[in-house]
Subunit: 229 residues, 2 copies
DNA sequence: AGCAAACCTTGACCCAGATCAAGATTTGCT
DNA sequence: AGCAAATCTTGATCTGGGTCAAGGTTTGCT
């Protein structure tokens, strides 16, 4: 994780959802506590249990959060794309990292120091609200992941994942570009890669989707949503 | 859920972890937005999907949060005891209840209106920090539950649960009083009641614990922690 | 106390999905 | 382009834990 300051950190900050509504003064206050880093694909950012210095924000690229398993494998908790933040608990609870983090592609990210965040928090209630909304979102997401993983069959889980990718406009047909490897996605759905593969081919046989590499063509969103089994 | 005001709401508020450090003025500002309710055992507070009016705080008793399953059964997400709050996402994201809530015993709870919370938030950064810590805690808890449910065998899950009940002092021997029915606990661990029962008797056979109704006597905390399988 | 309704345990069986194994396809590097 | 490594698919087999069933125990109500 190499420091990186080609681009103005200030400009980057004001484009991130978490910080974009800050006033001039607040940005200035935050700035000294923010570092910009460049990461290479597959680079580890930190390991579960590490002491961290602040909140991480993805500027470009993608970060995978996961739990290492006793058997040396991993369970993916989530993948963070541009604009997403993580390691909040480290700031608000002062605990070591509860997950490991690894870049899936090269990218740029920010680390906003614990101190800077707390100061900002005390100064701008709108930021506090944003932070709370962001955490609530994560909580909600995690709960729905829990629901998916514990209550549904393998095929349902995949259907569920695809359903969440349905674009807002109610078109019956659309494409999903998987933004991670199928392995990673499988782990996130708590499935063995083989099972994920089988679930997909099951859906193909049922005529609901077509698979071309990491692009999945959904042929009927309605029918997909209704599909159970 | 019947309104209940025998006790001074003000006194109750100032004893809750979430509100106990508020100044006089802040309490006064919050008070009009807070309602006190009494609930009977097994009473439903709300169902998944309901529109809610604010944050719930358990004063006495216990509330079970769960997801109804398509088969009419339920998956317990967590049990909230005195001092715990829930339904935060409803305030910060303005979404319907993502879970159902039911009292497991009679008790008293507060509902702090969305409006009152947001006002308080804008006024006292310490409260914001507390709220953030509370949400972070939940996030952390949920992640470790996820870890337990997806990465461990049935026996390990039970061991894991018991291990978390180990009291701070390092005594090798201690008692755990289950604060819910075994069914509920089983569901929380994502186990069938039968499997939970078998896991317990497995641990009994291994000489690690003794079970007397809902009281579990752990005979060697060290050995329990190390136990896998 | 006495009965009904929950709750818990134990046994027998079964199945969804993990694991193992072997090939096919894609990706990345020089 | 060409090779090695990573990724994905498909098949065969195995097993942990769910389900069904039946009995025992506790709880709560009148």
């Amino acid at each position: 994780m190499t420091p990186y300051t080609l681009e103005s950190t200030r400009d980057v900050l004001t484009r991130l959802p978490l910080f974009c509504e800050l006033g001039e003064g607040d940005v200035d206050r935050l700035l000294p506590g923010v570092r910009e880093y460049r990461v290479r694909a597959h680079e580890m950012l930190f390991n579960k249990g590490d002491a961290l210095d602040g909140i991480y924000v993805v500027v470009t690229g993608q970060i995978k959060l996961f739990l290492p398993t006793p058997q040396g494998s991993e369970k993916v908790i989530g993948t963070m794309n541009s604009g997403a933040s993580f390691a909040e608990a480290v700031v608000f609870l002062d605990i070591p990292a509860p997950v490991s983090a690894q870049a899936t592609q090269e990218g740029v990210l920010l680390v906003a120091s614990k101190h800077a965040i707390i100061e900002l928090l005390d100064h701008d209630p709108r930021f506090a609200r944003k932070m709370l909304a962001s955490l609530s979102m994560k909580l909600h997401q995690l709960m729905s992941d829990m629901e998916t993983c514990t209550l549904m069959s393998s095929v349902q889980r995949v259907v569920c994942y695809l359903s969440h990718q349905i674009p807002a406009e109610g078109l019956p047909e659309f494409e999903v570009k998987l933004d991670t490897s199928k392995q990673t996605l499988a782990s996130q759905l708590s499935l063995a890669p083989e099972t994920f593969s089988r679930a997909l081919s099951h859906l193909v046989k049922s005529g609901l989707i077509e698979v071309h590499g990491r692009t999945i063509h959904v042929k009927d969103a309605q029918r997909l949503r209704a599909f159970q089994g």
